[in-house]
Amino acid sequence: MLEKDAKNYHAWTIRQWALKFFGLWDNELEYVDKLLNLDVRNNSAWNQRFFVIESTTGYTNEVLKAEIIYTQEKLKRGSNNTSAWNYLRGLAKVSSYNELPEIEEFCVEKLESTWGITCGQLYVTLIDIYTKSGDHEKLATAIEYCEKLQSGLDDIHKKYWIYRKTTLEKLIA
């Protein structure tokens, strides 16, 4: 079923149930990898990655570091991939940006590239990192990035970024 429609929600539901029920975890991450090689924007596959790791090894420090590298490699194939960025931010939720400084390093490095002009999700992620840092200077930069998103890079979500900016301003005040 998933061969014909790799994002079929119902098929994934059944697959997850079967994996849990029969304990068939062994090759699943490989299968997810195969799907992401075919379509790096397959949100279902990214979610499945999370599901498999949580249900097997768990997100140990070693696994987290490996997953960051994995995600970064996939982002190089297409920077505006919401699913991949969501997954990267999700890794920081399991742990924290402090414990995983390579995420911030990666983002800051990419600012200097064309991603700094074209990749809205890069700024979304930096805003997330800086909001959680509590550092006043970083919060001020996050406010600038909200303005950048609301004024062109992500103007369809303008109203959200205006709200987000207001919230950040209150933190600095």
Binding site: K7, Y9, W12, T13, Q16, W17, R41, N42, N43, S44, N47, Q48, F50, F51, E54, S55, N81, T82, S83, N86, G90, K93, V94, I156, H157, K158, K159, Y160, Y163
Partner: protein
């Protein structure tokens, strides 16, 4: 249906009368049509979609023989207390909710075998708080919503363990703030509506991070103005309901670019036959007509009846039984 670019540009605005005619035609659909038989197992839901659309357009009174509709729907209640999608079909929570919603609109609620229904719904709750859709056991957050909404509409919510129901919903929340069909499942706007609707009816939306969820929901709006159901997927009119109602329930409806969405939904109308389709230029159907119209109501389109985001029913109809 092919339209040239210039024709497309000339047709603007909402063509409510065409949609009303489209729905009324469906109501007396000839049995020779393939679509009639392909959807016969969910007839009760089809009636709900059509009538809700009419109700929102303030045209419910254009439907004839509402008592016949009541009679038909009531005849779908089975001995086990639940409703099937059509006469003689097995009971399922999906059709049970649709049945109650239709009966509200046609003043037929008093005809329900109430105790039977309540007992049957309560029997479908599992130990972990989830609900199975029917006796075969499949769990799905949609079924939590159907159970909770059904009992809430009938004022018998006390029949289930609401704390456990909330508990299960919370376990279906993912790291991105949205919800899936079961714990661990991919976040999906339709499932998210079912979870948020359940929490809203049970007055428990304060138990989630609404800012996080609100961002995931508003991120569903793509550049052409439409809403999708998950990241990296195409926009579809039905998400105008699933996403907007969720945002309304958590007080973040203003995070959407309303005008762009209204314009996009308008483009999904069929200006010849009436009805609304999932995407511009596709064939229209009752389901997308319903959710396109209820979505436009939430967006404040003029002349529409107010729709309640928790129940996807008009406030006028809900008021009939004091809700």
């Amino acid at each position: 249906k092919i339209m040239s670019e210039t024709e497309d540009q000339q047709l603007e605005g909402f063509v409510g009368d065409l949609h009303r005619d489209f729905i009324l035609k469906k109501a007396i659909e000839k049995k020779e049509r393939f679509e009639y038989w392909a959807t016969q197992h969910m007839r009760v839901s089809g009636i709900y979609w059509g009538m809700t659309a009419l109700d929102t357009l303030n045209h419910l009174s254009d439907m004839e023989d509402l008592s016949k509709v009541a009679q038909f729907v009531l005849s779908c209640q089975n001995e086990d207390g639940g409703f099937g999608g059509n006469v003689g079909l097995d009971s399922h929570l999906l059709y049970t909710l649709s049945a109650i919603q239709v009966l509200y609109m046609v003043d037929g609620v008093d005809g329900i075998n109430l105790d039977g229904l309540v007992e049957w719904v309560a029997s479908l709750q599992n130990d972990d708080g989830s609900f199975s859709g029917d006796k075969w056991g499949e769990t799905d957050t949609r079924f939590s919503y159907c159970a909770v909404s059904s009992l809430s509409l009938l004022k018998r919510i006390d029949a289930i363990n609401t704390e456990k129901a909330i508990d299960f919903i919370l376990r279906c929340q993912n790291f991105d703030g949205a919800f899936g069909v079961n714990p661990g499942a991919e976040s999906h706007a339709g499932q998210t509506f079912c979870c948020i609707g359940t929490l809203a009816i049970l007055d428990a939306t304060d138990q989630i991070d609404v800012d996080n969820l609100g961002w995931w929901l508003s991120e569903r709006q793509v550049n052409d103005g439409g809403l999708n159901g998950r990241p990296e997927k195409l926009a579809d009119v039905c998400y105008s309901w699933w996403v907007l109602s969720s945002l309304a329930c958590i007080g973040k409806l203003h995070w959407i670019d309303k005008q762009k969405l209204i314009d996009w939904i308008h483009k999904c109308q069929d200006y010849e036959t009436g009805g609304i389709s999932d995407k511009p230029q596709n064939v229209s159907d009752i389901y997308h007509t319903c959710f396109g119209i209820t979505g436009l109501s939430l967006l404040g389109e003029e002349g529409f009846a107010q729709v309640n985001p928790k129940y996807c029913m008009t406030n006028n109809t809900l008021a009939k039984y004091g809700l």
